[in-house]
Symmetry: C2
Subunit: 212 residues, 2 copies
DNA sequence: GTCTATATCCGGATAGAC
DNA sequence: GTCTATCCGGATATAGAC
């Protein structure tokens, strides 16, 4: 008698807390990456948080760089989905504000850095495969920023001098840098930077939205 | 017979290459910090570069955090001296361009990050004494930026909307973030960001200066 | 001041039982 | 899939000779 379809499915793992361990590892690693950097977190940190053992993590991610690459891939996929979900918005300024919000959320959530900031800073101290992946992520964000800025200027909802390519770098750099500065000088600095960006791009400062 | 004045001077150490070892350690550590981050460099890295042994570094800096603090103190002293040397410049835009140049030099010199970017990123993973010192450094730079922006607007050499406090954060964040982005997306990105800042602050883009 | 030698600990990684 | 046990290398740090 052939096996039933159910038996052919991947075996249901003895799931702790009813969640997927691999995902939980990624979630914990993501927070550690954005708070401590790649070289300052260990499998042990993750293991303690999840109440599992070191070796269990190695089962899911044989080497640490595998975990690192998986993290960046997930950022890329997430950004791609987010970008698609935003494509419907007619107003480029609305899109940009939604993008700002993801950074505001980082700030609110334990004053985390953004992935680009961490990986850029540690660039000389991360494995080559992670560098390649990080470059891809940065390129995808950059292209979206340029397109959005161009759209906004064309429709009259955004205003800036010079080329969209250049303004995009300023925008990305400011968000990234301001998160780091907020850790040294307080969260208010980040909000000041965002207000100033809004002022320059639209001529006015919107009400400050609370993060989710 | 009393000791001669010469004998009372600190004993001349057997100097390798005719330089001061402590300074050389700081120089090597500084480059490692800005390229790899605090947690990704070791005494061994420094020892190899200087052709000395691990233990020799511990003689000058008993614990790694002592080295870290000394590094940031040196940044602070250097910035203070630089600030004083710039005080004579009448034009605030000239001062700002001189400040930009220090970042351009970081870029040219092995694509280094700036100290604030590194310490902000690793903030949760550095010793408390280093955090305190890093906060001081950031505050001193911030205050200088604000004063310079206000001076520039008053004399008409700089132009920006809103408050100088807010524009100062944008300026600092952009420089810091753009150095990191340059590592991921190429040095041209950094120059684009600087051109855009100049365009917004003065209405035109100056010739691109080569770094020293 | 710098060396050799060593202590100690930690992080990444693997083997094999369950 | 997760565990225990273990190996290995690297990093901080100290003791004591020169």
């Amino acid at each position: 008698m052939p096996k039933s379809p159910v038996e052919l499915l991947p075996r249901r793992r003895s799931l702790r807390l009813g969640r997927d361990t691999r995902e939980e590892i990624l979630n914990a690693a993501e927070e550690l990456l954005q708070r401590r950097g790649y070289n300052a977190f260990s499998y042990h940190h993750i293991a303690v948080r999840l109440g599992i053992r070191n070796a269990a993590i190695h089962y899911h991610f044989p080497a640490k760089e595998d975990l690192g690459v998986a993290l960046i891939r997930r950022y890329r996929e997430r950004f791609d989905e987010w970008r698609q979900s935003m494509a419907g918005l007619a107003d480029a300024w609305d899109k940009l504000q939604a993008y700002f919000k993801t950074y505001r959320d980082y700030l609110q959530d334990q004053c985390k850095c953004c992935p680009g900031g961490v990986l850029g800073t540690e660039f000389d101290a991360i494995p080559q495969v992670m560098r390649d992946e990080a470059r891809q992520l940065m390129r995808e964000i950059y292209e979206w920023l340029i397109a959005t800025l161009e759209q906004g200027r064309a429709q009259g909802t955004l205003c800036f001098k010079g080329r969209a390519e250049d303004e995009a770098v300023v925008l990305g750099s400011t968000l990234q840098g301001a998160l780091q500065i907020a850790r040294l000088a307080g969260p208010e600095r980040f909000h000041q930077a965002l207000d100033q960006l809004a002022l320059e791009l639209t001529g006015r400062v919107p009400e400050r939205q609370a993060a989710a």
